[in-house]
Amino acid sequence: MLAEFLQYLFTGITIGATYALVALGFTLIYNASHVINFAQGEFLMIGGMATVSLMGMGLPMPIAIILAVILAGILGVALQRLAIAPARQASVVTLIIITIGASIFIRGVAQLVWGKEYHVMPSFGSDQPVRIGGAVMHSQSIWVLLIASILVVLLVLFFTRTLIGKAILATSMNKDAARLVGIRTQLVLMLAFMLSALIGSMAGIAVAPITFTSYDIGIMLGLKGFVAAAMGGLGSGVGAVVGGITLGIVEAMTAGYISSDYKDAVAFSMILLVLFFMPRGMFGSRVVERV
């Protein structure tokens, strides 16, 4: 009984950690620009696919990973400069469509360059599963959790301890005021997209040994990440992490105890329930209507 529960829990936490990382990417961009970036999933895809293809060229794994992350970062900056910045006046829906267009475009290019097949990426460490209390966990899952935790800590430090991090936060709160005190908001926005891309690609690389990777892996992961971010409360880092982990655990528990047919449906119902009682997600800012 306990072993079973633990198994579902581990499964949920592993999936959830991935969702959390994607959600963090959403949060970063949302915070700086109030844009929901539907191309977020493509950063994961770029991370995984670029690493695999660079390794295929004979590069050692660590170098391949670094190059892949840099590539994703450049892509993030390009996305902001070429697609988001020129459309500053556009409405929320228009921006959504632009990022969807961007994600289709990136996927289209990836398919041309890397083909349509799924690819295997070796685990970072051993391939032996880890056993805890009768349940097993992929050893790569430990890596995923580790990387997720480190990234979260780094992000917290970045936002609370560095000037540039504080600048991003200030821009998110009031763009005009930030500009008045001398923050170059365009630079801040670029930085937010870059950071988001870096986190996304690292998440993509970390999970690739578990999930495989292909040109279209970003669609579903991106969507689930958005769900997690909204559940946690857009703009809240804690919310993104809690939202992601909760979503993962709910999915695994539903598949284990209720019905695997309806695990996604249960997850989506739960979001509706959360939003019903907390219209700004679990940790979203309680903004007072100002008129």
């Binding site: 007072v288 209507e289 100002r290 008129v291």
Partner: protein
């Protein structure tokens, strides 16, 4: 006759900070009643509480003897209360005239079927509504903007347009939140005239305003707020001579 608006023991806290605290006052029908006070005194918060945009933490608000705490703004509109905003709330996706016609929303009884098929009854109502809206635009001095997109109008014109919209609802009481803010001398003078004309029609006017000359000129009664509390109330004459008010304004 009892007061039109009666507020007793009103509190509003935002995250532990009291924006309005222990406030009681009443507005009599037919008055021009002004709320003044330094920035951050809680004037706009008070308006938002009275018009149902915020819910009070504590206290009672009565409109014509009926408790209205917890009612939605649209329910208050049904009871004859309408307002304007310090930061303009104009529908920029419509023409000026449509904005004013929107104000007559409650006066239109067209049902869904007559809308779907454009039945004559609905067209008649619309024509009457349009006529009244044009009248009101002329009344507030926006007559030349009838077919202009709201987004193409000047700030001062939009301020007056908002008053026309509020009047279109045939209110018993109208709350104006800093109507003179951002207006030049001539515009302010015109506004003063307009407020007088509105009051002459028997509509109670509640005003939040910084322009002391305007306030002292047209108000029947004043309420002075400071840090969310009542500092003083009385006729313009009494307020002008109140030492606390003088201290707050000079020291603040």
């Amino acid at each position: 006759m009892s007061a039109l608006i009666e507020v007793t023991g009103l509190d509003k806290a935002f995250g532990g900070v009291n924006a309005v605290e222990g406030l009681s006052f009443s507005v009599n029908a037919g008055q021009v009643y002004s709320v003044i006070g330094p920035n951050g005194a809680g004037k706009t918060t008070l308006f938002n509480l009275i018009t149902g945009i915020y819910t009070p933490t504590k206290g009672e608000i009565k409109l014509r003897g009926e408790s209205v705490v917890g009612l939605e703004p649209n329910q208050l509109a049904e009871r004859g209360m309408c307002r304007t905003f310090q930061n303009l709330q104009i529908c920029m996706n419509m023409t000026a005239l449509e904005n004013v016609m929107l104000g007559r929303h409650l006066q239109l009884k067209s049902n869904f079927l007559s809308t779907l098929f454009r039945l004559p009854s609905m067209l008649r109502d619309e024509a009457a509504c349009r006529e009244r809206a044009i009248e009101l635009m002329e009344f507030v001095g926006c007559g030349q903007y009838v077919n202009t997109e709201a987004s193409a109008m000047s700030y001062g014109a939009l301020k007056r347009l908002e008053i026309a919209r509020a009047l279109a609802a045939d209110p018993k009481v109208i709350l104006l939140d800093e109507p003179a803010a951002g207006l030049n001398g001539t515009e302010t003078a015109a506004l003063e005239d307009l407020i007088r004309k509105v009051a002459q029609q028997g509509i109670t006017v509640v005003l939040v305003e910084h322009d002391m000359k305007l306030v002292m000129g047209i108000s029947d009664y004043l309420l002075v707020l400071n840090y969310g509390r009542k500092l003083a109330e009385g006729t313009p004459e009494q307020i002008r001579n109140n030492p606390d008010v003088i201290a707050a304004y000079l020291g603040g």
